[in-house]
């Protein structure tokens, strides 16, 4: 059973076709990329997969479950996590809280438990905190637990956002332009981090990225879309010199 199966996905906004008959599948341990010029529809695909939009037609199946009609938090519970192009951390909560709240779907206690502070509440809260601290330690960010995101550097915030996504115990991690806005030294760090996460955690990573250094050095397979439709796909060497891809990015003159 495939981890992610997208079949003939189409998304219309009024008269605009943002995603056009897009299909793709992931088995479970890939590290792939989705690239394309600006406005190609890449983030729309991510929004569809994470449940933020409902597709106009086509299907998205995660571990055999069709996600039509599901709300994003339900899709996350199925094992899909994502980061955002513009970092969306909760700025008035500590890093630790950011990680803890993302475990909302598996808190394991009810409202009454929290009001009455039952045994179950105490146990589960301790477990959640433990999981969060372990994750932070694993990623080398333990000291940042009580920091607030706006006080951190952009690169560190990006790392925290990835950590937050990981705390939902995903099988599929969607990274939306993780290198965006990072200085080149941080990009090198990021490449190492993503590679390391891919090795240490049991998941597939699918990323949208414009910076080709990241894509070419990390990704096993690259899918290229333009105007919402797939125009090329394959390993990095194939894509690098593919004339259709070059034309999409740079125009006819470049050929």
């Amino acid at each position: 059973m495939a981890l992610l199966e997208i079949k003939e996905l189409t998304q219309r906004f009024g008269g605009l076709i943002a995603v056009n008959d897009f299909s793709m599948s992931l088995q479970g341990h890939e590290l792939n990329a989705l690239i394309g010029p600006n406005g190609a529809g890449k983030t729309t695909v991510f929004n569809l997969v994470s449940g933020f939009y409902q597709p106009s037609s086509g299907s998205i199946t995660i571990n055999g479950v069709n996600t039509r009609g599901m709300k994003p938090h339900q899709v996350t519970a199925l094992g899909v996590a994502r980061t955002f192009q513009n970092i969306r951390l909760w700025n008035d909560m500590t890093v630790l809280d950011n990680i803890r709240v993302s475990q909302h779907y598996r808190l394991g206690y009810s409202l009454m438990d929290s009001l009455l502070r039952t045994r179950r509440y105490a146990d589960r809260e301790a477990a959640i905190e433990r999981t969060a601290m372990e994750l932070l330690e694993f990623l080398g960010m333990k000291e940042l637990a009580n920091e607030y995101p706006p006080n951190l550097s952009y690169g560190t915030q990006r790392k925290v956002e990835i950590a937050r996504a990981l705390s939902t115990k995903p099988r599929l991690l969607l990274l939306d332009e993780p290198a965006a806005g990072l200085p080149s030294s941080d990009v090198v760090e990021l490449i190492k981090l993503i590679g390391w996460i891919h090795k240490e955690f049991d998941l597939a990573i699918w990323m949208i990225e414009h910076q080709m250094t990241v894509v070419m050095s990390l990704c096993q397979e690259i899918k290229v879309i333009d105007f919402g439709a797939t125009i090329a796909g394959g390993p990095p060497e194939d894509i690098r010199n593919n004339p259709t891809v070059i034309k999409a990015y740079l125009g006819d003159e470049a050929i």
């Binding site: 994470s50 449940g51 933020f52 709300k71 994003p72 938090h73 996350t76 519970a77 996590a81 994502r82 955002f84 969306r88 951390l89 909760w90 700025n91 008035d92 909560m93 809280d97 803890r100 709240v101 993302s102 475990q103 909302h104 779907y105 598996r106 808190l107 206690y109 409202l111 929290s114 009001l115 502070r117 509440y121 809260e125 959640i128 937050r164 996504a165 939902t168």
Partner: protein, 338 residues
Amino acid sequence: MGTRITVPAALCALLAILVAMTQKDILGQYGVTFLCSMGIYVILSASLNLVNGYMGEFSCGHAGFMAVGAYASSIAGVFLFVPDKVFGHPWLPMSMSIVAFPFILAIGFAAAALAGLVVAIPSFKTRGDYLAVITLAAGYIVKSAIENIEAVGGPRGFMGMSKVVQGMDTIAELPWMLIWIFLSVTFTIWILRRFVYSTYGKGIMAIHQDEIAAEIMSVNTNKMKLIAFMLSSGLAGLAGGLYAYLISFVNPSSFTILRSTECLVMVYLGGMGSLTGSVLSAVAFTIMLEFLKPLEQLKWVVIPLVLILLMQFRPEGIMGNRELSDVFPKLKRFYRFK
């Protein structure tokens, strides 16, 4: 030892002192009523802070929920204990009034929480200005609806609750409303603090700070909004019930936009997202109302002006989103505020 005992003990002691003061006439009728009003304002302020402060929504109809609770509790009490033209003979003897009173308040809470459900549903899809409009309209609708129901006196109001309070007095001569309000305030703060500072309740803050991220990070935003609205309006209903029995009379004109405005002032004065702030501001506000009494109508120029100035110069209010333990860290030894 330490944290688990100190605060409950201190509260019991405080209640005992207050009751003793009333019995010995140190605290007269005026003082008791003043403290009771303060307590009711604390409940209103803290409960609205859940939705407007922690969740960052813009609910302007808090008075409507207070009205629902007030009327529901009043009707329940009169129905059970007092002979009435519309509600007939009492079902229970006065001797049960003390035991039954928490249930009467609970009915007010439940009725108001249900009303909160009605407002919560539009909140799933709308935010900000539109939600403000919906809640304002809801407040007007409640008032307007009550005015059209003859069975509860319409615009003239509803009476009979004093008999229930007198009934409690026949069993034991204590300042009952003061006691009930004290217990309710404690209950309110206790429930809100526990909710908001659990990881479960922090989902509400996540919704405020970035709703889309919250939804995608597995927070069931609709359910959380529902819980927040129902809890908030339920507590407003509790305040309403207490208010009804305190002044022994309810009528729709006690629950207008002005009442909602008072609640808004307290929330923004205290600081959105600070429980301590909402308590402090309720206390300050009640005191301010006392000083403004001689101004009569001009009071309603001063209070909105205070809010306008707050918006201009200190929108984060007294406490911002800090709690008492953030300002005085040593207090953490005695009580876990968060």
